[in-house]
């Protein structure tokens, strides 16, 4: 008997319409846990670097996490992985909501799509009954609308639907997969779904999910709930509101947007408005949010209320989460009313709320600077807000300039030429980033930005405070009950950290400390992504209810796998390294491990080199960021080392281990 997981995947060959239920190997669970971990292994084995995002041979994997569907609070994430059309690397985007637990209850851990359907279809999974159904009548329909139509059509009000909108159908490189109140948005996975001819995956499950040691597992769950209550009643003092509590920032709750609006960049990540926030704006925005927000809502089995139902005047209701609240507003230099309104269309079209506003602001910047001209924008309205609506529409339909912009700022700039690439300035690994431009290099963030393969900083950061409190007393106060640290030394790192002087950024935390801190933060995120846990209760906030000390117990009692902290950290390192090896095999090298050139004004090239060199060594990677044979061997990944060796990747790296010269991009 398998615990926590079902032990079965659904393999769907879209080209032939063949569907199989395939038993999985429990040894893989022990080594790679589940979710991202086991999906990375499948991708490594079955998707060689020659395969493009839009090849039939590309896989699109919808995975539950190992603990999804158990009573572990907040464990509801679906991990979608494939080849990204934008970065050409592995995309692994996640969504909360209700889909993953439902799939477990239907009796499956993953749905693995391969091939391409000759016509638009949706996959309907109800327990043992699985079928591909015609979706031509849903072509062009919004993602939210589609979910509603399918539930009616099937007479299954409790079915969970993950669907794409027009953007996915038209293979927009930053198309998302939408699912009720959540979406998997990064890396353009919605485009891959559209390319495969799949409009939606619809799930209803009525089977049991078992846990191995029930009483122990429930004890752990109750402790987590108790600690959530404690943290809700005891916000962390001296940090901005969204960092004080738990959850995937409580953006829908918070009215005070001083910090975001004054510290994040407006437009095409260009302009900082230091005195933007005032009483008048605070009042107007609060009124906007209060008048449109019908309810604060949660994902499956989670007490946090990170999302909201939004009803903009005259538009259909939709559900919003997190920071897309402000991305459109700030890209357009507009107000919250505009932002919440255009996000309604964007949700139906199914596009990433981070990339999309930036792509549109980028287009208008090119127009202002004469790289694009009015001829490229025929019929575009004159008013600012109208232009954003017009651009969004063109992009998702891939009409005119929209077809170019639909490839994202990096590829659009390549297609436009004429120096347009200088305007695609906020990318890492060809992918748009949060609009942040700061002053002094932050060594911790430097490493996270440079080496992160999750592409999104919010999916890498957390746990360690972003800045030191001004006084030692405050730092001591924080460290007092900071039991989540994997090692006591982290408390000392924080206690000695000063805002100014000798022990301040960028030389403190020291290079070695930075490696420890980044590794800890990354490890926690990777564990979440295998277990299906929301980062908002674990790796993202300060002092979360899930941490390295109780996770092994959850896995032991839940899945019946003997687990301790060391074994868990090693498992996370194993599939994290596998993700890197997968991307290395696709051409990623040291040259790609860098933040946007203008992310910080004050840079320290020597320190940065030292940081990267030391971190690579720390991780068991060579000077090009390639996992060494020794480190792969230690993780039981000899099969990876052999493959990299066979492809001549080690030979090439040994020629010039510190070279920043671009390596040939594989695949495309």
């Amino acid at each position: 008997m398998r615990y926590a997981e079902t032990g079965f995947n659904l393999e769907v060959d879209l080209t032939r319409g063949n569907i199989e239920r395939v038993a999985t190997d429990p040894r893989d669970t022990e080594l790679y846990l589940g979710g991202l971990g086991t999906s990375a292994k499948i991708l490594w084995e079955r998707v060689p670097p020659e395969v493009d995002a839009f090849s039939p041979e590309n896989l699109l994997i919808f995975s539950t996490g190992l603990l999804c569907g158990t009573p572990a609070p907040g464990c509801n994430r679906t991990i979608v992985s494939t080849i990204s059309p934008q970065t050409l690397l592995m995309a692994f985007s996640m969504m909360g909501g209700f889909w993953a637990p439902e799939l477990k209850y239907a009796g499956y851990d993953k749905v693995i799509l391969r091939g391409k359907s000759p016509k638009l279809v949706y996959l309907w999974i109800k327990d043992d009954h699985v079928e591909l159904r015609d979706a031509e009548h849903l072509r062009g329909k919004g993602a939210v609308e589609t979910a509603d139509l399918i539930r009616h059509e099937l007479k299954e009000p409790n079915a969970q639907v993950a669907a794409i909108g027009l953007a996915g159908e038209n293979r927009v490189f930053f198309a998302s997969i939408e699912q009720g109140r959540s979406s998997a948005s990064r890396g353009g996975i919605g485009a891959v779904m559209g390319d495969k001819g799949v409009k939606a995956i619809v799930v209803r499950g009525t089977k049991d999910v078992n846990v191995a040691r029930p009483m122990e597992f429930m004890g752990l769950c109750n402790d987590v709930l108790k600690y959530i209550k404690f943290r809700n009643d005891n916000p962390i003092p001296g940090v901005m509101p969204i960092l004080a509590g738990l959850g995937s920032p409580q953006e829908m709750k918070v009215h005070d947007e001083k910090w975001h609006t004054e510290n994040f960049m407006w437009g095409n990540s260009r302009v900082r408005r230091k005195d933007f926030w005032n009483d008048e704006i605070a009042k107007a925005w609060a009124q906007t949010l209060d008048s449109m927000r019908t309810r604060l809502i949660s994902c499956y089995n989670c007490p946090m209320t990170c999302g909201a139902t939004i009803s903009p005047p005259g538009l259909p209701t939709y559900m919003m989460k997190c920071f897309s609240k402000l991305t459109y507003t700030m890209a357009a230099f507009s107000d919250l009313e505009f932002g919440l309104g255009i996000a309604q269309s964007a949700t139906e079209y199914g596009v990433d709320g981070f990339s999309t506003p930036q792509v549109m602001a980028f287009a208008l910047e090119l127009l202002e600077n004469g790289i694009l001209t009015d001829d490229d924008f025929p019929g575009m309205p004159a008013d600012n807000e109208g232009r954003f609506h017009w651009l969004l529409d063109k992009i998702v339909r891939r009409e005119g300039i929209g077809d170019v912009l639909a490839d994202g700022t990096y590829w659009a700039a390549q297609r436009i030429g004429k120096g347009a690439d200088a305007y695609a300035h906020n990318n890492i690994k060809k992918h748009e980033q949060l609009p942040l431009k700061l002053s002094m290099l932050n060594p911790i963030y430097f490493l996270m930005y440079a080496t992160g393969e999750k592409i999104n900083i919010t999916q890498i950061e957390g746990q360690f405070p972003q800045a030191p409190w001004p006084t030692r007393e405050e730092r001591e106060e924080f460290a007092k009950d900071w039991f989540q640290v994997p090692d006591e030394k982290f408390k000392q790192y924080l206690l000695d950290w000063e805002p100014r002087g000798e022990k301040s950024m960028p030389f403190y935390p020291t290079v070695d400390m930075c490696c420890d801190i980044v590794d800890w933060q990354e490890t926690m995120h990777y564990i979440d992504d295998a277990l299906g846990m929301c980062a908002g209760l674990s790796s993202f906030p300060l002092k979360p209810p899930y941490h390295i000390h109780n996770y092994p117990k959850f896995i032991s009692a839940g899945a019946g796998i003997d687990m301790d902290e060391e074994k868990l950290a090693k498992a996370a390192r194993r599939y994290r390294t596998l993700v890197r090896a997968f991307n290395i095999r696709r051409g990623m090298r040291r040259k790609d491990d860098k933040p946007p050139a203008n992310h910080w004004k004050k840079r320290f090239p020597e320190l940065e080199k030292q940081l990267l060199d030391t971190y690579y060594t720390f991780k068991g990677w060579n000077g090009q960021g390639i996992p060494t044979k020794e480190s792969l061997h230690e993780l039981g990944l000899d099969y990876v080392a052999e493959d990299l060796d066979k492809r001549g990747i080690y030979a090439e790296a040994e020629d010039d281990p510190s070279s920043d010269a671009p390596a040939a991009a594989a695949g495309n």
Binding site: G69, D148, N210, V211, P214, L225, R295, Y300, P303, T309
Partner: protein, 182 residues
């Protein structure tokens, strides 16, 4: 007629405005009633179900009550605060018109027992797990007529008899008894 008697009525006050739609109540209910306790969970077995339609802002936690053998003749609609509700949204019955409050395997009806199961809980677990306090447990005293309560087995058997007829159930019981002995 039974005699009049004072009785503690266990009540769950449901504040639908506070419901965030997470369905933790369904998770913990089905886990508590699993055998062995907490060994599995499955919202389809839960004795509380959330009637949830986010786009219409409908969030109604409903508890399984008595089993109804037949569906109602009419289905009325309620409009409350501008929102449409089907009459069934408030109904606690396991009935032929819908699939909730029935064991997914046997289709036998389920009924909320306020977690008086072994061991009896201080408060129903759905209430304990609803930390947003949409579900509040209250006790009040009432004078009621005492009734003879059917045991669980009897409730189950009655449902089987309704579905398959007395003769069939008796035949099956006889056969099973014989085979167990043999």
């Amino acid at each position: 007629m039974g005699e009049k008697k004072k009785k503690i009525v266990k009540t769950i006050k449901i504040d639908v405005d506070k419901c965030n739609g997470c369905r933790a109540c369904e998770v913990i209910c089905s886990a508590f009633h699993a055998a062995p306790k907490y060994s599995s969970n499955n919202p389809a077995r839960s004795r509380i179900r959330l009637i949830r339609d986010p786009l219409r802002d409908v969030y109604l936690p409903v508890y399984a009550g008595e089993h109804a053998k037949a569906e109602c003749m009419g289905r009325n609609k309620y409009v409350i605060d501008g929102k449409d509700y089907d009459e069934c949204d408030f109904c606690r019955a396991a009935c032929p018109s819908r699939d909730i409050f029935k064991e997914p395997d046997s289709k036998l009806p389920l009924k909320c027992d306020m977690c008086e199961d072994d061991p009896a809980q201080e408060k129903p677990l759905c209430v304990q797990w609803c930390i947003n306090e949409a579900l509040i447990y209250e006790e009040r005293e009432e004078e009621v007529e005492e009734e003879v309560r059917a045991e669980d087995v009897e409730v189950g058997l009655e449902a089987m008899i309704d579905k398959y007829g007395l003769q069939k159930v008796m035949d099956t019981m006889c056969r099973m008894t014989a085979s167990k002995k043999g």
